[in-house]
């Protein structure tokens, strides 16, 4: 078994070489600057978001354009995302065992309960959606594959955090407390979510972008040790409807998490037996 060649990065590098490597990170960061609805951004705005000079940003953007990741709006200084982003994302989704395991289960769940449901994993300070299903006729607008939901203050993030080591939890809570204004109440919401997860295996919070929706979330410990989270969103009807909603979603999500873990294990065993030894 060979080890990856990380030593090359650990060796001291001349400043020019280090800057060149950073350019790869910065260039890729430019692609993350685009959010849903950002059809095209101009060089000045992208430079501002990246914290770079316009000249440096322009060089990176031109390179991304040459490789099909960006497309320049003709006659302007504006760029939009392009086909290579789609191809790369599709390659990730198409090869993901979690996506394979999750898709049919999410579809069944969405139709049975009439909700939006998704599976996601942690990525930096966000939960990154890998698969999503919407019941026929349910309110659409749930984040789709590739979209990011903030980890802080969301049921999805709380469910992920609950499965982390005490040290990781402490670091996150310390970060939340240090935030001005809402930090303390955010930490209190995390503790409440942990209590819900302890009691029912599921926590809930208003949806990050649409407060009229309630989001329920449950963690899934996958066979490879990765923690995924399944979540569902539904309009909160209040009163008896709320009680029924909580009961249905809590029981359903806990069951879904268990099924997903089993199915992911099956997919993993199938891939292992299919790959050459």
């Amino acid at each position: 078994m060979r080890r990856p060649t990380f030593h090359l990065l650990d060796e001291p590098r001349p400043a020019a070489a280090a800057g060149a490597v950073d350019s790869l990170q910065r260039g890729l960061e430019a692609l993350r600057c685009f959010g849903p609805g950002d059809d095209a951004l101009d060089v000045a705005e992208l430079a501002r978001r990246l914290g770079l000079s316009k000249a440096t940003a322009r060089r990176l953007l031109d390179t991304l354009e040459q490789h099909g990741f960006l497309l320049r709006v003709p006659g302007t200084d504006r760029f939009g995302l392009h086909v290579a982003c789609l191809i790369v994302g599709q390659a990730v989704l198409g090869s993901s065992l979690l996506v394979k395991a999750a898709r049919p289960l999410l579809l069944q769940f969405a139709e049975r309960l009439g909700v939006n449901v998704l599976a996601c994993v942690q990525e930096r300070n966000d939960m990154l959606v890998l698969a999503q299903a919407t019941a026929h006729g349910a309110t659409s607008g749930a984040p789709s594959a590739g979209m990011r939901v903030p980890l802080a203050g969301t049921a999805l993030g709380h469910a992920w955090l609950w499965m982390q080591s005490a040290q990781v939890q402490a670091d996150w809570l310390a970060n939340l407390r240090s935030e001005s204004g809402t930090g303390v109440s955010q930490a209190a919401r995390v503790y409440r979510a942990f209590q819900e997860l302890e009691e029912r295996g599921v926590c809930q919070a208003p949806d990050a972008s649409r407060r009229e929706l309630t989001c329920f979330a449950a963690p899934v410990l996958l066979p490879d040790g990765v923690v995924a989270v399944v979540g569902c969103m539904r309009a909160d009807g209040g009163g008896r409807d709320r009680v029924r909603l909580e009961r249905e979603c809590s029981a359903g999500l806990a069951e879904l998490a268990s099924e997903m873990r089993t199915e992911a294990g099956r997919q993993r065993a199938r891939r292992s037996s299919a790959s050459p030894s």
């Binding site: 078994m1 060979r2 080890r3 990856p4 060649t5 990380f6 090359l8 990065l9 070489a17 800057g19 060149a20 490597v21 350019s23 790869l24 990170q25 260039g27 890729l28 692609l31 993350r32 685009f34 849903p36 609805g37 950002d38 059809d39 440096t56 060089r59 990176l60 390179t63 991304l64 040459q66 490789h67 990741f69 497309l71 709006v73 003709p74 939009g80 995302l81 392009h82 086909v83 290579a84 982003c85 789609l86 191809i87 790369v88 994302g89 599709q90 390659a91 990730v92 198409g94 090869s95 993901s96 994993v121 990525e123 966000d126 990154l128 789709s144 594959a145 590739g146 979209m147 990011r148």
Partner: protein
């Protein structure tokens, strides 16, 4: 590439990014595990360069290392490189609803695609409930000269670019006589606004395609639909389906015009 007046440091930076992007694309479309040696062969880059880039991309979690295979593949973080934002593009959001209605009412498969190298890549795919046609989904690649959408895209190229691509076809598809079908598609696009292909992708599946006008990406997107040949023989494609697809295209183009431009 170092441009005149550009410092060599800036040139290095651009080169590293370009190589990183080439390496990321080497995993597409199937994201199979690749060793540093395989990546070097696939990209034509020197092995030490590959090692440095895979190390950087692994540190950033865009690649994951598989110790049991001594290989790399794209990690889930690579999904955050624009894929999610693309699905929220105005073009796709606005086109999707109309495409789905068209797919339902005509019971067929409708696709919005753009070109990448020698393929049309499907951005949006809508199918009617009973649509029995080719197996395509978002991200599927349809060979440029074999798909109606590819031929429609080629037909809308300006003269010099058209001729250059035809020469490339001769090198890439030496066994095929593509000149005739391409000329026919170009003639149809010019006279009808759409082109029709008969069983060009799969047997017993006919397709119709038309280039979509979109100010933010002119000449990039093509709208196409596929149908079972027994329901839509070529003549019906020309007389009925083509004009309906054109109407769908015009509706989408009108939706995409800036407010006040109607």
């Amino acid at each position: 590439m170092v441009f005149p007046g550009q410092s060599s440091e800036a040139g290095d930076a651009v080169r590293v990014l370009a190589r990183g992007l080439t390496l990321i694309k080497a995993f597409c479309p199937r994201n199979l595990p690749l060793t540093n040696g395989e990546l070097a062969r696939a990209t034509g880059l020197p092995r030490p360069t590959i090692s440095r880039i895979t190390a950087t991309l692994t540190r950033l979690r865009y690649l994951e290392y598989l110790p049991e295979l001594a290989s790399y593949r794209l990690g889930v973080a690579a999904l955050a490189l624009g894929f999610g934002a693309l699905s929220g593009l105005d073009l796709r959001l606005r086109a999707r609803a109309r495409m789905q209605r068209f797919a339902d009412s005509e019971d067929l498969l409708v696709v919005l695609a753009t070109r990448d190298d020698m393929a049309m890549v499907c951005h949006e795919v809508c199918r009617g409930r009973g649509a029995l046609t080719i197996r395509v989904g978002v991200g599927s690649r349809l060979l440029l000269p074999h798909s109606a959408m590819g031929r429609a895209w080629i037909a809308s190229l300006p003269g010099q670019a058209y001729r250059a691509l035809m020469e490339e076809f001769q090198a890439r598809f030496p066994q095929e006589q593509l000149g005739g079908v391409m000329d026919e598609a170009a003639t149809q696009i010019q006279s009808l606004g759409f082109c029709v292909t008969v069983s060009s992708l799969e047997p017993d599946v006919n397709s119709v395609a038309t280039p979509l006008g979109y100010a933010l990406a002119p000449g990039q997107y093509v709208l196409g639909c596929s149908v079972p040949a027994f329901r839509y023989p070529p003549e019906r494609c020309r007389l009925e389906l083509g004009p309906r697809l054109l109407q769908l295209r015009h509706d989408i183009e009108r939706d995409l015009q800036p407010t006040g431009a109607h």
